[in-house]
């Protein structure tokens, strides 16, 4: 019953997040403006009919189905709990667990790859505090060896963000964890664009150190508001331009309207097409950011890092805003000092368990163990008397990030018709001693711990230790 209730809440929240604002409409959509460029070229590999039997299945919808089966075919989930599958390849997963493929909503893989070099450090366009025109996907190095490490940890989808030096850091991109020479080949098909914003210490430190604006938190806020005013103005001009074009096609006198990449991103947010992913630590700053969203009529989809989300957990739940958090990082800067181990659990339980909690990594090590991070966050909640089941906690690293990335209709839970992104774990994924045994992406076995040749190595890994000796 509970899971049905929760689904309803999700549907409501998804509607809120797609809220179309009353701003004037563009005559052309962005994809027309950019001539359909930069789109995903990812096509899943044809996948066989596979029946995985006798597994404990954490569905991501809030259920744990013990000793059950899942059938996948043609890249999709075909059925759950049905053991009759003629001609299917059978995997006996007795004693093992299945979860949806893990989704990390906060990664810098590809834009801050390993090894970390000046030549490939491409995550922060820290030359101006307002850079909504840059796109993380244009920095991604597709041969980052960290991708493979994450795959071994069960991560099937991840969201790559620009860094947090700027007030507006640029667009993020959602990628499938598959190997491709091109970033277009990794892009999650039709995933909405996102915009990285950053509160607090980072922008004011980076620009304050250069004796330029912003150097304070109030400077940060003025910077956001100025940019949104520009975006509103741009949209008005665009509408006027459209109107005059309609009146008179042959009007040669009017000045041609010049596209503005910064404004295209910001107006995309104001039209509800681009989702705000907002790096923000302190409770009062999150409240201010939600007021800015109110002033300009857009929505904050998720606060990231959100060390103090527990202080405003009710406010977040009321506004349908997710918080993406670590289980236990703290103290690296002043705004990260008030960490509580129960942060994730408290956000989850706020407003009669209607909070949207996400566990994220922001780390190439952490992304490999998001199941353990969720386990730490859950057990902290249990210690505080917040009785959160594993079936619910798994949502922190599956359906909740999928929702905040606008892809929950296709991934994040094990439901019929969804992409067959799933992980077979060799035990309870909430245990430190458990490892991902097999990882399927769109029904294709992308990693198998029992076989060295089950996964595609990045170019970097090939022969890098010595000729003929791969890194992994």
């Amino acid at each position: 019953m509970k899971s049905i209730l929760e689904n309803k809440v999700w549907i409501v929240l998804i509607f809120i997040s797609l809220n179309i604002s009353s701003q004037p409409a563009y005559s052309k959509s962005e994809s027309d403006l950019i001539n359909q460029a930069y789109q995903s070229t990812y096509k899943p590999i044809a996948s066989p009919r596979i029946l995985i039997k006798n597994a404990n299945i954490l569905t991501g919808t809030g259920e744990l189905i013990e000793s059950s089966s899942i059938l996948i075919e043609n890249n999709k989930i075909v059925s759950l709990g049905n053991d009759d599958a003629d001609d299917a390849e059978i995997i006996d997963a007795k004693g093992k667990w299945i979860t949806p493929g893990i989704i990390d909503i906060h990664s810098h893989m590809g834009v801050y790859p390993a090894p970390s070099l000046r030549g490939n450090s491409d995550g922060n366009e820290a030359t101006s505090p307002v850079t909504p025109h840059v796109w993380a996907e244009h920095s991604v190095w597709t041969q980052d060896p960290q991708f493979t490490l994450a795959l071994k940890g069960g991560v099937t989808t991840f969201h790559v963000l620009p860094g947090s030096a700027n007030l507006f850091g640029g667009r993020g991109v959602t990628l499938k964890n598959i190997r491709s020479v091109t970033v277009q080949g990794m892009k999650f098909p039709n995933a909405p664009y996102t915009l990285k914003m950053a509160c607090g210490e980072n922008p004011k430190r980076v620009y304050g150190n250069r004796e330029s604006e912003p150097s304070t938190r109030m400077g940060n806020v003025a910077g956001y508001r100025d940019a949104w005013i520009d975006a509103q103005h741009y949209m008005e001009q665009m509408a006027l331009n459209d109107a005059s074009n309609l009146e008179d096609d042959s009007n040669d006198d009017q000045e041609s309207f010049k596209r503005d990449l910064k404004m295209e991103t910001l107006s995309g947010v104001l039209r509800g097409e681009i989702l705000i992913q907002n790096h923000c630590y302190r409770g009062e700053e999150m409240a201010v950011m939600m007021d800015i969203a109110k002033e300009f009529n857009y929505k904050v989809t998720a606060f990231h890092h959100a060390i103090e989300a527990y202080k405003v957990a009710d406010l977040l739940a009321e506004n349908g805003v997710c918080a993406a958090m670590w289980a236990d990082w703290w103290g690296f800067k002043n705004e990260a000092y008030d960490m509580v181990w129960e942060n994730v659990a408290m956000v989850d339980q706020a407003l009669n368990a209607n909070g949207c909690a996400i566990v994220h990594s922001d780390s190439a090590v952490g992304i490999q163990h998001l199941n353990q991070e969720a386990s730490k966050a859950r057990s902290a909640g249990l210690r505080a008397g917040l009785n959160i089941s594993k079936a619910r906690a798994i949502r922190w690293i599956t359906i909740n990030p999928a929702k905040a990335l606008g892809i929950a209709d296709r991934v994040g839970s094990l439901e019929v018709g969804k992409m067959a992104d799933l992980v077979i774990w060799d035990g309870d994924p909430f245990s430190t001693f458990t490892k991902a045994e097999r990882v399927f992406i769109d029904g294709h076995l992308s990693f198998d711990a029992t076989s060295d040749n089950s996964f595609i190595r990045t170019d970097f890994d090939l022969g890098i230790i010595e000729p003929g000796r791969d890194r992994l």
Partner: protein, 412 residues
């Protein structure tokens, strides 16, 4: 009839602390000794006068405060082999940091900076760390200074239990060639030896070219050469470790590798040379061209070769996450017993503290943790903490913040 003050300790919502109890008898625990004895089931442990007085079955003691620890694991207090607990409060706030010196190099000692009131102490203690080897950070100089050992009971009057127990240096890729660093290192040894020879003349006012060193720095290097303290080398590349082995043999210096991401490539050599290795088993990122061969089973391969492991966490604020690292090493094949030793007795042994801490043995300090589950599981946490036989409150600032907001959110 014997009068036993028995408490159904773990069934009560509000813990009853055995505060100021001199004699505590913990009954029916699963004791992970971190010694040859291994894991002892249904075993009792008697704490008397701050020490482990007795370990065995069916112990009784008149007037002891009795704790029933059925279904609970007990381990020795964990020891962080490399941490800045007490000398760094907020990483980006320089004034809260005391982990490096602009003036001294090898002679830098962090002892006078240690802050027993740091918020990091209750957090890490609750996470299981009862002693930290507090170590300076890597600065500009090849030598960072010396580490000292502190217990984490938070007493304002705390004194180090091991003063300047090891010197720390870094070796690897940077602005200056690693070859140049090796020359600097060799020169520092020569300089210290020359200083030693002319010490009496210098005392009488004779000239000595100290270069970039102070007398204090050179005295510290003399302690290295005299094998009074080991040299911890923060290094990752396999080839660099081989060069450092050669250097240490030429100069008869005891060394310890730290980081050591590529150590598995020369595991046998490290084992033959009896060099302990401090590592984070979870750090498998090839983050530079010094650590291209990083891999998840580094710890396992080293252990199989016979290398003594000390498990650390990369981040000072969460030094206690060494426990998660140890658990992950177990997932990749490190025996559980070895993983626990890498968090306790191996650290104590390497830093000369094993007479008093690091294992559950009669006569040692009663630095003991009672866990609510398997100690290497991330889902487990400490339930009771004893340092020198005293029950330490598990309360942290984190918990107080939590409780304030649980109440505010109506979740209490």
């Amino acid at each position: 009839m014997k009068i036993l003050k028995t408490y159904l300790f773990f069934l009560l919502c509000t813990p009853l602390y055995a505060e100021n109890q001199e004699i505590i008898l913990i009954k029916n625990a699963t004791i992970m000794t971190a010694m040859e004895a291994g894991i002892l089931k249904d075993t009792d442990l008697l704490i008397n006068n701050g020490l482990i007085a007795e370990v065995g079955q069916n112990l009784e003691y008149n007037g002891a405060f009795v704790i029933d620890a059925s279904n609970h694991f007990i381990t020795p207090g964990l020891i962080a082999p490399q941490s800045m607990i007490g000398i760094q409060e907020i990483e980006l706030e320089t004034e809260t940091r005391d982990d490096s010196s602009h003036y001294f190099s090898s002679g830098f000692s962090i002892i006078d900076a240690f802050n027993p009131s740091s918020a990091l102490i209750p957090y890490n203690r609750t996470g299981g760390i009862t002693t930290a080897i507090v170590s300076p950070s890597s600065g500009n100089h090849i030598f960072s200074g010396m580490a000292s050992a502190f217990k984490l009971d938070g007493k304002l009057t705390e004194e180090a239990i091991g003063e300047n127990v090891a010197m720390i240096m870094s070796f690897g890729g940077s602005e200056d060639s690693r070859a140049s660093k090796m020359l600097m290192l060799k020169d520092s040894i020569i300089k210290a030896k020359n200083y030693h020879k002319s010490r009496s003349q210098i005392m009488r006012g004779g000239y000595f070219d100290f270069g970039n060193y102070t007398p204090r720095d050179l005295e510290a290097i003399l302690r290295l050469i005299g094998r009074e303290i080991p040299l911890i080398i923060r290094v990752n590349r396999a080839r660099d470790m081989l060069r450092m082995i050669r250097f240490s043999n030429e100069n008869k210096i005891e060394i310890i590798f730290s980081g050591a991401k590529e150590a598995w490539r020369i595991a046998d050599k490290i084992a033959i040379e009896s060099i302990p290795v401090i590592l984070d088993p979870m750090d498998n990122i090839p983050s530079s061209f010094d650590s291209i061969a990083a891999r998840m089973d580094n710890a396992v391969i080293l252990n199989n070769a016979g290398v003594k492991l000390l498990i650390t966490s990369q981040v000072t604020h969460n030094s206690y996450l060494s426990r998660q690292g140890a658990g992950n090493a177990v997932a990749y094949g490190l025996p559980e017993h070895e993983a626990l030793k890498a968090l306790t007795i191996n650290v104590a042994t390497v830093f000369g503290l094993s007479e008093s801490i690091g294992s559950i043995e009669v006569g040692k300090d009663a630095d003991i943790l009672i866990w609510n589950g398997h100690p290497l599981e991330v889902s487990s946490f400490t339930k009771e903490i004893y340092i020198d036989g005293k029950n330490i409150d598990t309360l942290t600032r984190s918990q107080m913040l939590r409780d304030r907001y649980l109440k505010r959110l109506g979740l209490d």
